[in-house]
């Protein structure tokens, strides 16, 4: 009896020691896991930062190219016209040269407007995300190469301008990928909202693209577009998911959930009071 009791007490003490050892070992595992997670996060952030810098640089190069090739060339032409006009003898000849110069000048104005529009879509700033996305889909559809449809309720909450721009850029990038990489012939874009978030879905009938592919490819060097998507999603405090279509036909369904609440690090109100 005494021996059994002593064994029992020993067993209980061993149990207590076991619990304490387990707690300590588990805690060490948790710390190691947290450290790994932290270094992964840091790596991810570094990649995103690099992508943002590269993207900015690329954008600058594009603007520089546009200015040089289009605006620069047109301005040189106008200069030539003006020089020619100075050498003309009759008023009619001057008027004709000036008319030609005016036409080129109109082109320059249009080119500058296009460059400016690409930098910050006017429609988005003035009328909001719904109209800007509608306009974008209409343009794509009008090109004739692809069928693009757009659906949205009448009233959609307006976000802060920079948040709307970020959402617009994400959608632009996703649709661009659907066109360029998925070889889609049909895209359906939908904008919805509930109490907590703005939901944008884009569905295509191209080659499928999964969340796994997104997670893998965004970390690869060179995949600037996907890195930019992730970076903007993080800034918005949003979530993005790539899944197969609900009808299980070939294609991809992208779902972007943008919270309407204030996100950490966001200096102002996320949601404006006015709805359209």
């Amino acid at each position: 009896m005494e021996r059994i009791l002593l064994l029992g007490i020993g067993g209980m003490l061993l149990f207590a020691i076991g619990v304490i050892v387990f707690v300590l070992v588990h805690q060490r595992r948790v710390i190691r896991y947290q450290m790994n997670l932290q270094s992964l996060r840091e790596g991810q952030q570094r990649l995103l930062l690099e992508a943002a810098i590269a993207s900015e640089e690329k954008e600058r190069q594009r603007i520089a190219g546009d200015l040089h090739d289009e605006v620069g060339a047109s301005l040189s032409t106008i200069r030539l016209y003006l020089l020619q006009a100075a050498r003309k003898n009759t008023l009619e000849q001057v008027a004709a040269t000036m008319e030609a110069a005016k036409e080129v000048l109109d082109e320059v104005v249009s080119q500058v407007r296009q460059i400016s529009h690409r930098l910050s879509p006017e429609m988005l700033m003035q009328f909001g995300l719904k109209d800007a996305l509608q306009k974008m889909t209409q343009k794509l559809h009008a090109s004739g190469g692809i069928r693009v449809s757009f659906m949205s309720p009448e009233e959609i909450v307006r976000l802060q301008p920079e948040r709307e721009l970020a959402v617009y850029r994400i959608v632009q990038e996703v649709i661009g990928n659907m066109l360029n990489h998925a070889a889609a012939a049909e895209i359906h874009l939908q904008l919805r909202q509930n109490k907590h978030c703005l939901i944008i879905t884009a569905e295509d009938n191209g080659r499928g693209f999964t969340q796994e592919s997104f997670e893998k490819q965004k970390n690869k060097p060179g995949s600037l577009g996907l890195k930019n998507i992730q970076s903007r999603v993080d800034i918005l405090g949003a979530t993005i998911n790539f899944t197969e279509r609900k009808d299980h036909l070939p294609g991809t369904l992208m779902t972007l959930n943008v919270p309407l609440v204030k996100v950490p690090g966001d200096s102002g109100q996320s949601v404006h009071a006015d709805t359209r």
Partner: protein
């Protein structure tokens, strides 16, 4: 009672002073739950001194033990109810308090007679404390804010309590039965329990070192 037991019990109650003296000195700086714990420890210290002296002078002290266990159980239950955050844990402590009350009512006649040591109350107290400690550790493991658990005051306090009550459970459960059969063996077991009490108090004192890193 054997001399060894007296010595062990004497060292055991003196060991209470290791965590208590600094805790009393810095009592104002402690946060509420720790103040409450120090108050429980002070109550335990007073009772251990009382039972030591009554035992030494052959004064009947079984009712004092009963009051001690009852107070200790309810005070610790209230403390753990504050320390444990999940609804399950809070309900669990409430159920244990209710069961303990039922156990007191069932054993009340036997306890008030004061003829024999009642094993069930301290055994139940030890078992409940073991479960509270496990629940507390489980809660700590789920807390992502704690990076180094062994640098927290509560880790050392709960470790001390867990070891003490794990060792005490079977000692307490068998005391009533063995009291009339093998008193010498019981004395040895109580020496072991006193040693566990000393270990507990030392671990609590270690925990108090980490107060600043709260």
């Amino acid at each position: 009672m054997s001399l060894h037991l007296y010595n062990a019990e004497l060292i055991s109650w003196i060991s209470f002073l290791i965590p208590l003296i600094p805790a009393w000195m810095f009592f104002r700086r402690l946060w509420f739950e720790l103040k409450f714990f120090i108050a429980i420890l002070t109550v335990s210290f007073i009772f251990s001194v009382v039972v030591y002296y009554t035992g030494k002078h052959d004064i009947h002290n079984l009712v004092i033990y009963f009051i001690w266990y009852m107070l200790e159980f309810y005070l610790y239950s209230i403390l753990f109810q504050r320390l444990l955050h999940s609804r399950f844990s809070k309900n669990f402590t409430s159920v244990m308090m209710l069961l303990f009350a039922v156990l007191i009512l069932v054993n009340l006649g036997h306890i008030l007679e004061g003829v024999a040591f009642d094993s069930y109350l301290p055994a139940f107290l030890s078992l409940a404390m073991l479960l509270y400690c496990v629940l507390f550790f489980n809660q700590q493991l789920d807390n992502p804010r704690i990076t180094f658990i062994y640098k927290t005051t509560w880790f050392w306090i709960i470790t001390g309590l867990l070891l003490y009550f794990a060792g005490s459970f079977l000692i307490m459960l068998s005391t009533g039965y063995l009291m009339n059969k093998n008193i010498d063996f019981i004395m040895e077991l109580w020496i072991l329990q006193s040693l566990l009490g000393i270990v507990k108090n030392l671990l609590i004192a270690i925990g108090l070192v980490y107060i600043k890193q709260r």
